[in-house]
Structures are given as C-alpha cells and as structure tokens.
Symmetry: C2
Subunit: 351 residues, 2 copies
C-alpha cells in the first residue's frame, strides 16, 4: 500500500493469471494454451514482416486484419474490432457498454476476470448461480439488467450453451448489450457470429490465443454490428491508439489463411479430449462435458487441491481455483497426445 | 451515437493520432517515427523468437526485459514497468495515481492525449499556460493539486525543461505523483531517471517508439520507486495481464543491447535537426529550440495550415494542430538527411 495510490488502486484485487513457471520445465496444462505450434504460414508472415518497417507505427485500425476476419465470417470490416488479446477486448467492452447505474449479469462460475473489470470500472453486478450440473440458468438472464456477459463454452467448466438459449437471452435483452465470450468456441461449439445480422445487441468476442496457437502474440477480436464496434473504437482510441503491433497483425492474418491447419489442430485436440475424458471416467473421475480445450474434473476419493499439488511435484501443472462450489475441481488443459499420456500416467500413480 | 453506448462512450472525444496514410507513398514527417531502421540485433532477436513458442503466453511480468532496462539505468527490476507503448503506460498511470477529487495539472500545450485520459477517468484538470516562448511556467506546478504530468521535452513544441526546475516541482509535490513523460528525451535532453532514488513521487515514462526505432512493436516503460511500479502492476493486472507480446519483449531487449547503434542514430537525427533548423531560420521561419526528434515552426508570411496542405500535395506529410495558440505552427518530424532535403526543397518551392 502506498500513499501515492488512488482509492481504486488500493482497493482492487487484480486478476491472477495461470502460473507461468520459471523454476523448471513442466507439462503445462494450466493456461489452456494450444499444444501445437502456429501454422507455418504464420511463421513465414512474421519472418517477412521482420524488417525496417518496424520503425513505423502499425495500422491503428488493423484494416487488413479486419478485412480478413470479415471475409472469414461473412461480415464487413466495420463489424470487426481488434485488440491486444481478448482480455483487452473485454476490458474495453465493459468500459464501452456497461454503466454503474444498472447491474450487469454473469454466471457465478465463469471467467474470473469479469468481477475484476466490474470493480475496475465501479460497476454493479448480479451473479447467476449455475445449476448443479454447472449448466447456465437461462431464466436469470431474462430480467431487468444493464448488460449480460456469458462465456460459451463456459470457463472453467467447459460447458456449452446451445444457440437457442442464447437467442432467448438476446431477445429479452434487446435494450442491453449481450456479450458472448467465445474464447473456446472452436473446440466443438457453434459460434453465434451468424446471429450478428439479426441482433444489434450482440457482441461476440474471440481470441487467437487458443485455437489458433498464438497466445504469445496477443490478438483478440470483437464482432458485432457497426454501432457496437464504433463504440469500442471510441474507447480504445481514448486509451491507446495502437494496441496490436505490426508483427501481431500479419501473424493473425496468416493464421486465418491456414484453415486446413487450424481445423487439423482443433480436431486433434477434440479427439485427445475425448480419449482423456473416457480414461478419467474409467478411473473414477467426474468429468463435466466439455466443448473447450480443457476439462473440469473432480475425483470422489482424492481432494482436488491435493491432486493439484501432487501433479505439480511430478512436473504436471494444472489449474486449481480455491473458490466456493468449484474448490474440489481441477481444470486441465488438453495438451498433445504425448503430454496427456504422461498426465494420465501421473494421475494413476497418485490415486 | 448508439443506445448501446454508455454515457462515457457517448461523451468522450477520442485522441486522434497522426495520419497513417494508405492512399500513396509520402515522406512521413508527421508521427515522429525514426527514419532509421531498428538495430540489426533487434531483427536477429525477432527472427530467433519466431518459433513454435508463440503458442505460449508471454511472460506477463516481462522479467528479462525489466532486468535489461534496470541494468541499463542502474535501477532494480522492481522499479521498471513495461506496457504496450507509452500511451498504454500513460493510460495506466492516470488510472493508478490520479483521482477525481483533486485537479491534475499539465501545460496547456502538451501531449493531446492527456485531456482524453482525464476525461476517460472523470478527472478534473488545471492547465498551466505556457509562456510566450512556449517554456513551462514552473510556478503553476507549485500549488495544491492531485498530480502533475509534464512531457520533457514538451510535445509538440520540443522545448526542454531543465532538471533543476523539475526538482523544484518534485520537491513541492511530495504528496502527489509527478509524471515526467520522456518520450523524446534521447535527442539531446537529460533524463531525470537519476532522480528516482531521491523522489518516491517521481514516475518517468519512456518509449521505444522514437529513439529506438520500434514504433511498430509497441513498447513503453515506466520507471519509479517500487511502490509506484507495484501500483501500476495492480491496475495493469486488473485490465490485461499480457500486454507486451513475446516478439516485442525480445525486440526491446535487443534494442537496449545495441547502445552503439542507438547513439549513432540519435546523433544523426540531432545533427540533421540542427541543419534543418539553420536552413529554416535562414528562410524566415521561427523555430522553437528543440531537444526532440521534431521541430515546431511558424513562418511570418505563409499560414501554417496552408503550408501543411501544400506540403501534403507535394507528398510531404507534417502535423498541424488546429488549436488556440499553436494554430499557426507545424510540427515536423526529423527524417533522414535525404528526406529533409526533399522537405526543404518543397518548402522553398512553396514560399
């Protein structure tokens, strides 16, 4: 605590990202990174952009990247916003659309950055308790509020919400922005991007950190009707004109150009996930059905925190959240086949 | 305007960055970029980092880069903060240290992003009018306030404030944070980084966009005592944990490792600046004495806006600010010798 901090700085509890250990080499199944490298096309594009032009500012509007994403999703460029990872896009979205006079609603178990953003901007929140099976209580979002945000699939549960439920929420909340945070949509879910044309209140947020193997380059995307995107630009341009650097922009474009590789990696992860789910179920784990690149699991005999610690000792990092309702679960990112074999082997040794 | 925007989004007037033209090739003297490419060591470091590790998140704490900068300035790692360009560092600094109950003070002519940050966070401001010769009125900063921010050299004037005046301001404002924005310090000014050990209220902000030719990679730095840096980290980690990507981090480290090249480029720019100043003075321009990589000039016969337009027609972009007190001045970035020769030639043609 310092006398130079303002009240906000003193009060706020920052988000704690998954550990990026520096002490030794782990099998990292704790931050939902992709086990497969970025596309060769991405590395080639970066190599080409690695030249004297780095002395120049990047395009603040990311025009070429927005055109690429627009083409990919059959939207137009002005329906696309680019940010420094989906965290920055989320931070801007909260600041652009939500205000302190009305509660924003999100599931009680969801991305733990949401309450931090709410606190950062002095927003009131209402938490909708997940059902026993971790599914979302759609009814809770059909009530007077100042905005909605739902991760789909949800994090850290991996649970997917069907498109009809989202339509119901969009229909009810026609006066408020509904953000669907699709960070993990490419691992078996169906994106609601197709609904954008019908719903001026829908903002979809995606990232290149997971399914496109570019966590290291920080690229997030918001998709929505032009008015929403224009609002985001107003706030972004009041904060930092250039948040996506030259290399990140070309890397992202190339990632969208290699559809085949993208599908191949995503499918491999989905297949590995199903194998791991079967195995874990066999040995007594309860596994929440997942459409993400991670699974959320609990064992009837061994406490999650204990399992977390033992796995760490054996060189495998997973994520444990010491929070009500989920403090006996572990979130395990889906790594490569080989990594998951080691993980399963270590789990067997422990239980 | 959209019903989905909150009051802030409706109200705010975003910062307008210098034009990044896409219509044709200009001699770009409008955004203070460095005419010289990044060091060869930077390109080499990027090339080495362009590998499968891009699938992994960057180090959110930028430890290696902070160690490098700390070593360079004889500070310790915990006295260094890294952000996505100095604009992001400024945005975080306003949010960390300033509050709405007391006015923050800055010169009436200074970086035009400051009032935008103040508006973004609902801060009250008091503007200190520059003197006739564009020098800073030190007395104005020796008064009750909630914080001070001064660019040194000032932008867009290029005018430098001596270290004793800054000490005076630091001494008076011992209860408030004083931010010295040193974006342009490497072109002839003396940094106040050396004062950090004596002043717990001093935060120095620098960038790699100007003197280190890395505008395209977005790296900004704050330097101050540990308490200030810890505050910045609290706010940053409540906004976006990873704002500086893997490639940017290694590029920045390499830039600090090539001191010789850095000095060579900076000296070349300083020499070019002095030549251009002499030439412009000869042909009837008033030139504000500059310690930056740009000059601020006015001609007794031709209006600045007209000169701006004519230069643009002739393929030379400079910056014009349509604002009281400076609307008859142009800000001209110092390009290469060759670029400035063309610039001078075009100016001669016009006047």
């Amino acid at each position: 605590m310092s006398k130079y901090w303002n009240e906000l700085t003193k009060r706020i509890e920052p988000y704690v990202a998954g550990e990026q250990p520096k002490d030794k080499k782990y099998i990292k199944l704790n931050t939902n990174e992709n086990p497969y490298p970025p596309s060769e096309k991405v590395l080639k594009a970066i190599s080409e952009a690695n030249n004297s032009d780095l002395r120049l500012y990047p395009d603040p509007d990311c025009d070429k990247l927005r055109e690429k994403v627009a083409g990919y999703y059959n939207l137009n460029k002005n329906q696309i916003f680019i940010g420094n990872g989906s965290d920055e896009v989320l931070a801007f979205s909260f600041l652009t659309f939500f205000s302190s006079d009305k509660e924003i609603v999100y599931p009680d178990i969801s991305y733990s950055f949401y309450p931090v953003y709410a606190d950062l901007y002095g927003l009131k929140t209402r938490l909708s308790p997940l059902k026993e099976d971790f599914s979302i209580n759609v009814e809770d979002f059909l009530s007077n509020n100042g905005g909605v945000i739902i991760p789909n699939p949800n994090a850290p549960t991996g649970k997917y919400l069907d498109i009809n439920s989202i339509k119901k929420i969009l229909n009810y909340n026609s006066e408020n922005v509904v953000i669907i945070d699709e960070a993990y949509i490419d691992f078996g879910g169906q994106s609601v991007v197709g609904l954008i044309k019908d719903y001026p209140n829908l903002l979809v947020i995606q990232t290149l950190s997971k399914s496109r193997s570019l966590a290291g380059m920080r690229i997030g995307i918001a998709l929505g009707q032009e008015e929403l995107i224009e609002g985001l630009n107003r706030i972004k341009n009041s904060f930092n004109s250039y948040t996506c650097d030259r290399i990140a922009q070309v890397a992202a474009i190339a990632a969208f150009e290699d559809e085949e590789y993208f599908k191949e990696c995503s499918n491999r992860i989905i297949n590995t996930r199903e194998k791991v789910v079967n195995k874990l179920t066999e040995i007594g784990f309860k596994v929440v059905p997942s459409k993400a690149n991670f699974i959320f699991v609990s064992h009837k005999e061994i406490e999650a925190q204990k399992l977390f610690t033992k796995l760490r000792e054996k060189g495998v990092l997973v994520r444990y959240f010491n929070k009500p309702k989920i403090n006996n679960y572990l979130r395990i990112s889906i790594g490569s086949e080989e990594e998951m074999d080691v993980f399963l082997e270590k789990v067997m040794e422990i239980i």
